[in-house]
């Protein structure tokens, strides 16, 4: 593995749900790469396939055709908890666990000693100014707080690739802007690549690169730095 190797490589990846007449093609064969430290917004309307692509990148789902590999990150089985952290769409905190326990959970799942995991969770919460809600249950949080806790949980893992699926989807504009600030700052601080799926153009504007998914097809515009055009659509 060298520094030039991408974190994620998708080659002719397709995902179809169901079979026969009722089959729904969520993604047509697409290819793309995500490099270290990149900031990418995956744009597109609801149902276009953004979440599916993110799940495939996270190793949470498997493609029905093509391959997804993680050259700089390792095998699928070791991605989570580990180098990839995922902020899910909608409420994603475990209801019976308090905020600190929620943030510590992926660390414990990854084999970190429970007391150390709690310490790291507190650090992460502190960074987001959430230490005061550490012993609250998810249902006692506002939507914005819950989403910030979910981001804190992702960052507590110190990932190399942070994926956020519609992280502002259920938030008002102001709160959403704060959440994006937090994500960008945290990713920069960690030196992690950040991929956010969103249908909000304002959020897209804040990230360096913007990919577009429409009807399961991905369009990757020319990299402004490399000044070379690249099309990943099938």
């Amino acid at each position: 593995m060298t520094n030039a190797e991408p974190l994620v490589r998708c080659e002719q990846v397709a995902r179809t749900y169901g079979s026969g007449r009722s089959a729904v093609v969520a993604l047509h064969g697409l290819s793309c790469e995500i490099g270290a430290g990149e900031q990418i917004a995956i744009m597109g309307p609801s149902g276009s396939g953004k979440s599916t692509l993110l799940h495939l990148i996270a190793g949470l789902d498997t493609p029905t055709a093509g391959t997804v590999s993680w050259p700089a990150l390792g095998e699928r089985a070791t991605l989570r908890p580990g180098p990839i952290a995922l902020v899910l769409q909608g409420p994603s905190l475990l209801p019976p666990l308090d905020v600190t326990e929620n943030v510590a959970l992926p660390l414990v799942l990854g084999g970190v000693d429970p007391s150390e995991a709690t310490e790291r969770a507190r650090d992460a919460l502190d960074r987001f100014d959430l230490l005061g809600v550490g012993d609250k249950l998810p249902e006692e949080l506002s939507g914005g707080q819950a989403q910030r806790v979910a981001i804190a949980r992702a960052l507590a893992q110190r990932p190399q690739l942070l994926l956020a699926d519609e992280p502002t989807g259920q938030l008002d504009h102001t709160t959403g802007a704060v959440v994006i600030d937090v994500l960008l700052e945290a990713a920069a601080a960690l030196g992690a690549a950040l991929v956010i799926s969103t249908h909000d153009p304002d959020i897209g504007e804040r990230l360096v690169r913007r990919w577009t998914v429409s009807d399961g097809r991905l369009t990757v515009p020319a990299d402004p730095d490399a000044a070379e055009a690249e099309s990943c659509s099938a």
């Binding site: 979440s51 799940h55 996270a58 949470l60 789902d61 991605l79 989570r80 908890p81 580990g82 995922l86 899910l88 769409q89 909608g90 409420p91 994603s92 905190l93 475990l94 209801p95 019976p96 666990l97 308090d98 326990e101 510590a104 959970l105 992926p106 414990v108 799942l109 990854g110 084999g111 000693d113 429970p114 249950l137 249902e139 949980r153």
Partner: protein, 885 residues
């Protein structure tokens, strides 16, 4: 339209939960309908058996001075068949066989019409010789040493004896009622039927005794034996009312010319209280099962409460009013109730066919409809309570924020703060204590009165115990999980390792949910355990009852006056199938003026040979008291009644009068009172005495045996009895336990509870599987999103297993332990409260370990399946779950 769409959506989108809810309703309906079938069927069986057991329904005795012809006409007008029967007293019988002449004491000569044995087939049983003509009772034949063809002289008061030639030897199985003193109260009945009986054809009787009737009318009586229509109501109480009413009506018609000896009414009187006991058993054993099925249905429905709240919130945002939400839930409840009721009734019909041999829910069409409609109504009620009421409650208090609530901070419910569980348990103990004061007399059926009553109050004891124990289990589970982080962590550690702290926290916060699931497992286990123990104890006691009545597997009873000694045991022991033979002396002894049965036992062997129970004695175990009788040969065990009547103290001397074997005169024999015997094989239920056989033999000069109690050691008692009959001929009567089981009358132990047992134990297994596997599976299913999130965060199957197995183990182990304890206490209480069902009352519970192991096995297997399915599903498609929910 919206309603149909809603119901269709509920069925297709929540098919599993919908099916499980309807299944819970179906179990309750099927259980109630099945038990209704049993109840109706067993009551009808009791009536039928009571009727079958009576050979002569009525014995109407013509009163002195009455015209027998008019009495006969009167009885004939009210019955299906009636025949006159004449009775004449004889001062004695005499026969000369070979070189010896034998004489007997007083006896009875009965005149029977030729058609008597055809009309009343069960009264006289032909043993040897011709079935008609001059017949002599077996015991009399043995006393006189006569056989068919021999001649017997019949003494007549004030007249010369008359000579008859014996055609056959017979037995009178129901001699007590046949020779009853009509119209006399029970206490004034003769102690035993006459020893010496000769039956003559009516014409012969008239030829020999009409002169006696004219000269000594006090020496003869005339009865009309009658058979009634047996088209009686199935319920023994209703049948009793009809029969006794008819008897009183006949007496009015006869205007004092005849008194009715109502054998059928007396038998139905016993059966009617058994009928009520069957009803009480139904209430004790059946209702908890139905309540449990209702609770399970509610639990299944409640496991989808979060989703329902979310759906209601969505409907609200689209303009649905509270009324609309309630209507939709009522419609859903109605569909659940209808499907559950239909499936339940269908299942009950199948169960009825399999267990009771009938698919009907009642003895009559009307009863069947009542049972089916009642069971279905209960099903609809459960569906309404489980589905509609929570939905209505939520709809009234619904906010969108509230709909998102999944767990919440566990707050102690109000009943827990008020100690309702402890109050219920205290109430149970109080009611039980009050019930015990009247000796657990649940069914009160005073003799001769048509009214009978059940003390349903006694039901409150077990009911309060059941509910109190359930709530106490809830309290303990809730407090244990909430007692601190470390305790919950320790509980979870064996299954979750490093995750113990997280899993413990999850369990602690969901302690209300887990406590509820644990209570369901506990109540189901308690139901299964108490039912199984009760049924097992009942079966054991029924067997003991049959053994007590018959004496042992096979009993050879020598006729009174026989001189067969214990040495005859050897001959019997040589018969094929006989394992051991125990000789038992049977004498009569006067205690003051009271004549009682006295049994002489071989103290060294009697305990093992007859499986004597400690419950038969007071003042020591069976083994200890028999050993004491061996050490102190003049010891005697008497009845509690005798102790009370004669104010006996241990060590007191009792001077009894027994017949001397040589002189036939009564001899005074001193005994020392050492203990109380309440039951003994072949002994009567009231008063009797037990003493050392060697001592009795020494003091009376006779070692004559009354009965040989034979252990067949597993060989067929009927086959061994047949072998023995071939050997002993008519010199002794041979009975076997298989016949006795059927003959112990209309007592409830004769009613076959095995069908009910199969049904209840089957339902208990189904409930155990549902309470563990289904409830856990649905609870886990409701948290699919939680597991999917954990999987998305990187949880491996083993780690998900930590969550699943910790909860499952806590609920299952805690529930089984609490249930076993509750079941044991409940079974003790049930057996005590239902003492009247047991005859004799059991000394200890009979525990069916095999069945209980199966219940535990089924519960654990259901949990394993539910847990593994949950883990597999969470792993397989977390993305789908996250997208769908």
């Amino acid at each position: 339209m919206l309603g149909l769409t809603w119901v269709r959506g509920a069925i297709t989108r929540r098919f599993g939960r919908f099916l499980a809810t309807a299944g819970g309703v179906a179990i309750a309906v099927a259980l109630l309908a099945s038990i209704g079938t049993f109840l109706a069927g067993s009551k009808a069986t009791m009536t039928r058996r009571a009727v079958q057991n009576v050979s002569v329904d009525w014995q109407v005795e013509a009163q002195p001075g009455a015209d027998p012809a008019k009495v006969l006409a009167g009885v004939s007008s009210r019955t299906t068949s009636a025949l006159p029967v004449e009775f004449a007293k004889t001062p004695g019988l005499q026969a000369t066989t070979g070189a010896s002449t034998q004489s007997t004491g007083p006896g009875v000569v009965v005149g029977l019409p030729v058609s008597y044995s055809r009309t009343f087939p069960g009264v006289i049983r032909n043993l040897v010789g011709a079935p008609l003509g001059v017949l002599i009772a077996q015991q009399t034949a043995a006393n006189l040493h006569v056989a068919p063809g021999d001649t017997v002289m019949i003494g007549r008061a004030g007249l010369a004896p008359t000579r008859v030639r014996i055609d056959g030897v017979v037995d009178v199985p129901q001699a007590d009622s046949f020779f009853q003193k009509v119209g006399a109260p029970i206490g004034a009945q003769a102690h035993a039927p006459p020893d010496n009986v000769v039956f003559l054809p009516a014409a012969t009787w008239h030829a020999r005794f009409d002169r006696l009737a004219a000269s000594r009318p006090d020496q003869v009586t005339m009865q009309v034996h009658a058979r009634l229509s047996h088209a009686l109501p199935g319920d023994p109480a209703a049948a009793y009312t009809r029969v006794t009413g008819s008897a009183r009506s006949l007496e009015v018609l006869l205007a004092g010319a005849g008194l009715v000896g109502d054998n059928l009414g007396s038998t139905l009187a016993a059966a009617r209280s058994d009928g009520l006991y069957a009803q009480v058993v139904f209430l004790f054993l059946g209702v908890p099962g139905a309540v449990l099925a209702g609770l399970l249905t509610a639990a299944v429905a409640a496991s989808g409460a979060d989703r329902r709240r979310r759906e209601q919130a969505l409907l609200r945002t689209r303009g649905a009013t509270t009324t609309t939400l309630v209507r939709l839930s009522l419609l859903e409840a109605a569909v659940v109730g209808a499907i559950g009721a239909l499936v339940g009734l269908g299942a009950a019909a199948l169960v009825g066919t399999w267990a009771f041999g009938t698919a009907s829910f009642g003895a009559t069409t009307g009863a069947a409809i009542v049972w089916a409609v009642s069971a279905a109504a209960v099903g609809f009620g459960i569906a309404g309570l489980a589905v509609a009421v929570p939905a209505w409650r939520d709809a009234r208090a619904l906010t969108v924020v509230g709909a998102r609530r999944v767990v919440g901070r566990a707050r102690a419910p109000r009943w827990l703060r008020f100690g309702l569980d402890l109050l219920l348990l205290a109430g149970s103990a109080l009611v039980f204590r009050l019930t015990s004061r009247n000796g657990y007399q649940l069914v009160l059926a005073p003799e001769g009165t048509p009214a009978i009553s059940v003390s349903y109050w006694a039901l409150a004891g077990p009911a309060l115990l059941w509910s109190g124990a359930g709530l106490l289990a809830w309290r303990v589970a809730y407090l244990v999980l909430g007692s601190g982080r470390s305790f919950a962590r320790r509980l979870a550690r064996p299954f979750s390792g490093r995750l113990a702290s997280t899993v413990g926290a999850t369990m602690r916060r969901q302690r209300r949910l887990l406590a509820g699931a644990l209570v369901l497992v506990a109540l189901t286990t308690a139901f299964a355990a108490s039912t199984a123990v009760f049924n097992s104890t009942y079966r054991a006691q029924a067997e003991i009852d049959a053994r007590l009545t018959n004496g042992n597997d096979v009993t050879v009873t020598e006729p009174p006056g026989s001189n067969v000694g214990p040495a005859a045991s050897a001959k019997l022991a040589a018969v094929a199938g006989v394992k051991s033979v125990e000789p038992l002396q049977h004498r009569y002894a006067y205690v003051g003026a009271d004549l009682q049965d006295m049994f002489g036992v071989r103290t060294s062997t009697i305990v093992g040979a007859t499986k004597l129970q400690d419950a038969y004695f007071k003042g020591g175990t069976a083994r200890a008291l028999m050993a004491r009788l061996g050490r102190e040969p003049n010891g005697v065990l008497v009845s509690a009644e005798t102790v009370k009547d004669f104010q006996l103290q241990p060590g007191d001397t009792l001077r009894l009068r027994l017949q001397n074997g040589r002189t036939k005169q009564l001899t005074e024999v001193p005994f020392r009172y050492i203990g109380v015997a309440t039951e003994f094989p072949t002994a009567p239920r009231d008063s009797f005495m037990l003493a050392n056989a060697s001592y009795i033999a020494q003091k009376t000069g006779s070692d004559a045996v009354g009965a040989f109690l034979i252990d067949t050691g597993g060989s067929s008692p009927a086959a061994v009895a047949a072998n023995i009959r071939r050997q002993v001929g008519t010199t002794a009567s041979v009975t076997d336990i298989s016949k006795t089981r059927k003959l112990i009358g209309t007592s409830l132990t004769a009613v076959d509870l095995s069908g009910l047992t199969r049904v209840e134990l089957g339902f208990a297994l189904a409930l155990a599987a549902a309470a563990t596997g289904l409830v856990l599976a649905l609870g886990f299913a409701e948290r699919r999103r939680t597991f999917a999130i954990a999987t998305a965060l990187g949880a491996k199957p083993r780690q998900l297993g930590g969550f699943v197995w910790s909860e499952a183990a806590f609920v299952t182990a805690g529930g089984l332990a609490a249930g076993a304890l509750t079941g044991w206490v409940l079974a003790e209480m049930l057996v005590k409260v239902l003492t009247g069902v047991f005859d004799p009352p059991p000394a200890a519970l009979s525990v069916p370990w095999g069945y209980l192991a199966v219940v535990a096995g089924v519960a654990i297997a259901a949990v394993l399946v539910a847990g593994m399915m949950t883990i597999r599903r969470a792993q397989r498609a977390p993305v789908t779950v996250l997208r769908d929910l």
